[in-house]
């Protein structure tokens, strides 16, 4: 018998009861999937998405300036491809990695298919459709280049490469908001996926160092530091995010130095940051607690200073332990951005609500919500996949289990 069939039989039909359960579940799932596909392909009116795809993507960002967002997308795509390829061409010291594992080929093929199909399904202008093809090609090309020639890169160059990402974030900020010779685009014109991703990434990037500091503060020997951290964390965790968002709109203008929270969007982004930091601190604290005391003692006995001990010995291990919990936090942070629609910001949900209120598209809520769900699911799945890959790479322990003992 075919090994696949044999495995299916062992997994699904080992006993009569197993078989009945499997059949029941398969019937249930296929009925649901069939219903959904039938509805999506025949009954659903996707015109509401097709007509508003730009609105969903970037809100009311001026059309004449949208080339800046395309450029940013291209830069991000190239950086992704390069990082991906470099990771594959530099496997960990103790194992030999493949340059093109099967999953990589699969993911790349899938992305290319989506880049061709989705713009076509959205009835984008041919010029825009071809841009998506180019982006897919760019990803493949940079991935190939970095994989092929990455091993020639010197060690310091390799160490500096991750700095591309924060640099790109700054460049992205300039491209989006203008300045340095570019026409300014006021934040009130940002919207849709752009605003969702921008506020989420801003909060994720800033809440991380803040959360680590809070966690360290909470474990500090200095009472003042410890109590400040505890009070902060418990206050934030005791209040619903939506309350804090409303509160932030009213008081952040006084609390933060003038330039930092100039308008509603930045105030909301800061509130998200402060909110997520408290939860992240607890995740990091659990990670710190998981590092045996002997680790710090060994580092100190070798003469490492307290900051060196923290940065080189304790935190790398603590963050590795806390990674799943932290990514969970990031994912819920991404979803929490939908609350911004309640304070009148046009992120994805906000855009969706205006579209659904448009008399032209009345009665198409299902299509809109399904699209929204898919968009969020895609972003969260990407975060989850990335974190799992990172976990695998950072974990010497899983490795030792599979490796043969000397």
């Amino acid at each position: 018998m075919n090994p696949l069939l044999r495995r299916l039989r062992a997994d699904l039909f080992a006993t009569p009861a197993d078989g009945a359960l499997s059949l029941g579940l398969i019937a249930l799932f296929s009925a649901a999937a069939l219903g959904l596909v039938q509805w999506a392909s025949q009954k659903a009116q996707w015109a509401v998405i097709q007509a508003n795809s730009t609105l969903f993507a970037v809100g009311r960002y001026p059309e004449a300036q949208q080339w800046r967002l395309w450029l940013l997308t291209a830069l991000l795509t190239a950086a992704t491809g390069l990082s991906w390829g470099l990771l594959r061409s530099h496997p960990r010291a103790d194992r030999d990695g493949q340059l093109w594992p099967r999953n990589d080929r699969l993911v790349l093929g899938l992305l290319a298919a989506v880049a061709v199909w989705l713009p076509w399904a959205l009835r984008l202008a041919p010029a825009l459709q071809s841009r998506w093809w180019l982006l897919a090609a760019l990803l493949a090309a940079t991935r190939w280049l970095a994989g092929r020639f990455g091993s020639h890169l010197s060690r310091p160059m390799l160490r500096l490469f991750p700095l591309v990402w924060p640099l790109l974030y700054l460049i992205g900020m300039v491209l989006i908001s203008g300045g340095l010779g570019l026409m300014p685009v006021s934040p009130s014109q940002w919207g849709g996926l752009l605003l969702t991703l921008l506020s989420a990434s801003f909060a994720i990037l800033l809440c991380f160092p803040l959360g680590v500091l809070l966690a360290l503060g909470r474990r500090s020997d200095l009472p003042l530091l410890r109590w400040t951290a505890v009070i902060y964390i418990e206050f934030i965790r005791g209040a619903p995010l939506i309350t804090l968002l409303f509160l932030g709109q009213n008081i952040l203008g006084f609390l933060l130095p003038g330039g930092l929270a100039p308008d509603r969007i930045w105030r909301a982004a800061w509130v998200l940051t402060f909110f997520a930091a408290a939860y992240l601190a607890e995740a990091v604290r659990s990670g710190l607690a998981a590092v045996p005391k002997g680790q710090a003692e060994a580092a100190r006995s070798l003469g490492l200073s307290y900051p060196q001990t923290l940065l080189r010995v304790v935190l790398p291990q603590a963050l590795r332990v806390a990674l799943p919990a932290m990514v969970g936090q990031f994912i819920s942070l991404l979803q929490d951005t939908t609350l911004l629609s309640l304070i009148g910001l046009l992120e994805l949900l906000g855009v969706a609500r205006t579209v659904m209120a448009n008399p032209e598209f009345l009665g198409h809520n299902r299509e809109v919500y399904l699209t929204l769900a898919l968009l969020f699911w895609t972003c969260c799945a990407a975060l989850g996949l990335g974190s799992r890959a990172l976990e695998k790479r950072l974990d010497p322990q899983t490795l030792s289990r599979s490796a043969t003992r000397p």
Binding site: P292, S301, L302, P316
Partner: protein, 249 residues
């Protein structure tokens, strides 16, 4: 003892320690260790022997008495503590290797970071140290992939890579499987013949007999007996030592 008093590497006088819960762990401990000497500290569990040697590199603080390491007195000055730690290596019962670094990086980390030595030079030294403890082939592995005995030998090499003048061993073989104890003791025996000063907390009687210049018995937070191994094991002065030896021999 052949060493003169100017050769004192460790000089502890009347060291007293209370734990925060009020437990009186060290009750006026005196100990002098000379350059190149190997001193073995024995004693029942809870006698304060581990606590005592951990005060030598300030992993434990103490409330009364003085400790001088190579002439420098241990106080609250953090910078002086860091300076002393650089000269005092320590090998732990639980190895405490850094699991996220390769074996080689475990050795290279401190000398490059603390002493600011060039990486290539430290790497060469690290490899020769790993060779000396018999695990050069494992340099690129992670600690979790090694056996307990191998890990402890890496830990010794890691301490040596800082070129300390004093090496402290805190029950280095107590958490090893019996068949791995020997490989670690062999490495320690080799070291004992060099001019590094060693203080070893251990229950390994044979090791103490062969290698130690002096054996110290601690009980209830103070030093009970201090004698060359021949006398300590065959003809101790104190009743407490006899009782202890009866239990472990």
């Amino acid at each position: 003892m052949t060493a003169s008093s100017s050769n004192l590497m460790i000089e502890a006088r009347g060291v007293e320690k209370w734990y925060p819960n009020g437990y009186h762990a060290l009750r006026g401990v005196d100990l002098s260790v000379h350059r190149g000497e190997v001193v073995v500290v024995m004693g029942p569990s809870g006698s304060g022997k581990s606590t005592f040697i951990r005060t030598f590199n300030a992993l434990e603080d103490f409330q009364k008495g003085t400790i001088r390491i190579d002439g420098n007195s241990l106080g609250n000055d953090l910078r002086q503590i860091d300076a002393i730690r650089r000269e005092v290596g320590m090998v732990f019962q639980q190895f405490n290797l850094f699991p996220h670094l390769t074996v080689l990086d475990n050795l290279v980390l401190a000398p490059t970071l603390v002493r600011g030595r060039p990486r290539a030079q430290v790497q060469a030294q690290a490899l020769s140290l790993l060779d000396r403890v018999g695990i050069k082939e494992q340099a690129q592995k992670f600690p979790g992939q090694l056996s307990g005995g191998q890990q402890q030998r890496v830990a010794i090499a890691r301490a040596l890579c800082m070129e300390p003048r004093i090496l402290l061993f805190d029950e280095p073989t107590s958490s090893l499987d019996p068949e791995m104890v020997r490989e670690v003791l062999d490495v320690m025996r080799q070291l004992a013949h060099e001019d590094i000063t060693m203080v070893v907390v251990t229950h390994e009687v044979k090791f103490a007999e062969q290698v130690a210049d002096r054996v110290v018995l601690m009980a209830e937070g103070s030093v009970v007996e201090e004698a060359p191994p021949a006398q300590f094991f065959k003809n101790p002065n104190h009743e407490r030592t006899k009782r202890f030896l009866d239990q472990i021999l």
